[in-house]
């Protein structure tokens, strides 16, 4: 297998964006191409992740993007895996470079939904559930994670304030990220006093609906060395699956796909959870970050809340979790999120993360899942 590297990365700001999905997809791609210092004609193909292109009247995004980049003859592919689309797309691109099919690929994630409003975005997102059993019975995504949260509160020594601390921590990080959707500090009281969306989750336990696009250039080590710019190496890649509906899972407070994907990625990279300096994890809701940090092996099951309470997941503490601000503060344009996590890791490991830099970081991890973790991909990156 070829060694695979990230040679460039870029994102639009995340938030409510006025431009079309075609426009933001292109903007992010151009910033990644410029970050890599390559000519677009060196890109051999693109992998695009998107879920609700139909909501902005544009599916089949690939040829539109490639035409705008002046490379309409190059192939493209759009991949959908709900909120995990970005990492799955990244993984497919990774596999193609590793196999030697391509030496340079453009991987772009994109989403544009905020113009549809809260009711319809909530409705579209519910289509990512096992609809026959969940969405059809009125389950929203906050509702499904709220069901996990109640199970966690019932099973372990945890409080709603503990979940609130995750939001506070991620907003503290997001304030330092100029691309973040929610750049404001909040308090535990702010979270506790925000309106209930699906009990026990309140508005500030939930990530926002965001528009945004993120893009990276993925290439062989040989290509990276020839181009001379800063790059990071992808040393581990793993995917996993879980029963689509929560009801089918052995434990309601564990996401099996995370454990499967993490084990595969750690094994490939030859590391354990203890070696990870920082992680961008899928904190679509505060409860999710707690569960993720346990399933990824950073903390024992049931102890994730204690780590948050003790500040062990803050920036430059035991392990920096979501230095970018995470989905909660940076925002969650669902097709872009998994690629945006790679952008953060690239910025961190190449010394471009500014005030939110994780000091002396050598190994970063991305963890991104679809729906309630029915699909998941984990990647490990190392500085070179």
């Amino acid at each position: 297998m070829e060694k695979v590297c990230v040679l460039g990365a870029g994102s639009t700001k995340y938030g409510k964006l006025p431009d079309s999905i075609a426009d933001i997809t292109t903007q992010a791609s151009v910033s990644a191409i410029e970050s890599a210092g390559i000519d677009p004609k060196e890109v051999k193909a693109s992998y695009i992740s998107n879920v609700f292109g139909v909501a902005d009247k544009q599916v089949h995004l690939g040829p539109v993007l490639m035409s705008r980049l002046g490379i309409p003859d190059k192939p493209s592919l759009t991949i959908e895996s709900a909120c995990g689309s970005g990492s799955v797309s990244f993984r497919e691109a990774y596999a193609n470079v590793a196999a030697g099919f391509y030496d340079c690929l453009l991987v772009t994630g994109t989403e544009k939904v905020t113009h549809t409003g809260t009711e319809w975005t909530t409705t579209y997102f519910a289509y990512c559930s096992d609809f026959f059993y969940e969405g059809q019975a009125g389950a929203s995504f906050p509702g499904l994670f709220a069901s996990m949260a109640r199970a966690y509160l019932t099973e372990f020594d945890a409080t709603e304030e503990d979940f609130a601390r995750v939001a506070v921590k991620n907003h503290d990080n997001g304030v330092l990220n100029p691309k973040a959707h929610m750049q404001k500090k909040i308090t535990v009281d702010d979270v506790m006093n925000s309106p209930v969306v699906a009990s026990p989750l309140k508005l500030y336990d939930c990530c926002p609906f965001s528009d945004g696009a993120s893009s990276v250039i993925l290439c062989s080590e040989k290509f990276a060395k020839e181009h001379g710019g800063d790059y990071v190496q992808v040393t581990g890649s793993g995917r996993g699956g879980s029963p689509a509906a929560l009801q089918g899972r052995e434990h309601l407070t564990t996401i099996p796909s995370t454990k499967i994907a993490a084990e595969a990625a750690y094994n490939m990279a030859g590391i354990t959870a203890k070696d990870v300096d920082f992680a961008e994890v899928h904190d679509c809701f505060t409860i999710a970050e707690v569960v993720d940090t346990e399933d990824l092996g950073f903390f024992e099951k049931g102890k994730g809340v204690e780590a948050v309470r003790e500040g062990r997941t803050k920036l430059n503490s035991d392990i920096s979790i979501n230095p970018s601000g995470g989905l909660k503060s940076k925002g969650h344009p669902i097709g872009a999120t998994g690629v945006g996590q790679v952008v953060e890791v690239f910025d961190q490991l190449t010394g471009n993360a500014g005030e939110r830099t994780v000091k002396d970081a050598k190994i970063g991890l991305t963890h991104n899942f679809g729906a309630t973790g029915a699909s998941c991909a984990v990647h490990v990156f190392q500085s070179v």
Partner: protein
Amino acid sequence: MSVEEQLIEIAKQGKLLTHKCTNCGYLHLSTAYYCLKCGSKGFEDVLLEGTGSVATYTIITVAPAGFEKYTPYAFVVLNLDNSNLRISGFMEGIATPADLPVGTRAKITGFDERGIIIEKQ
């Protein structure tokens, strides 16, 4: 009838259609086509009473389209009696967590535009 239609028709009678593997005996919801444990394809129908205890739930106040008029309502995951299975569904008339402690006895009572309907017993 499709597997979903069969499950719906039985749910309307307040029961749950399940599939028992004829090879290893493992019980599944009736939308399973292959056994989770042994991979075999043969199933026999088993009707459950649809009773159980609440494993977890949420009370939804911000609803997807079509459900606004029912808020607040609960989305419930039920541990089914005498089985390894859970089923989820819609429960109306739940306003606060005090209305539905985890472990509350409940039962499937029907199926309509709100999916599988579950009521407290």
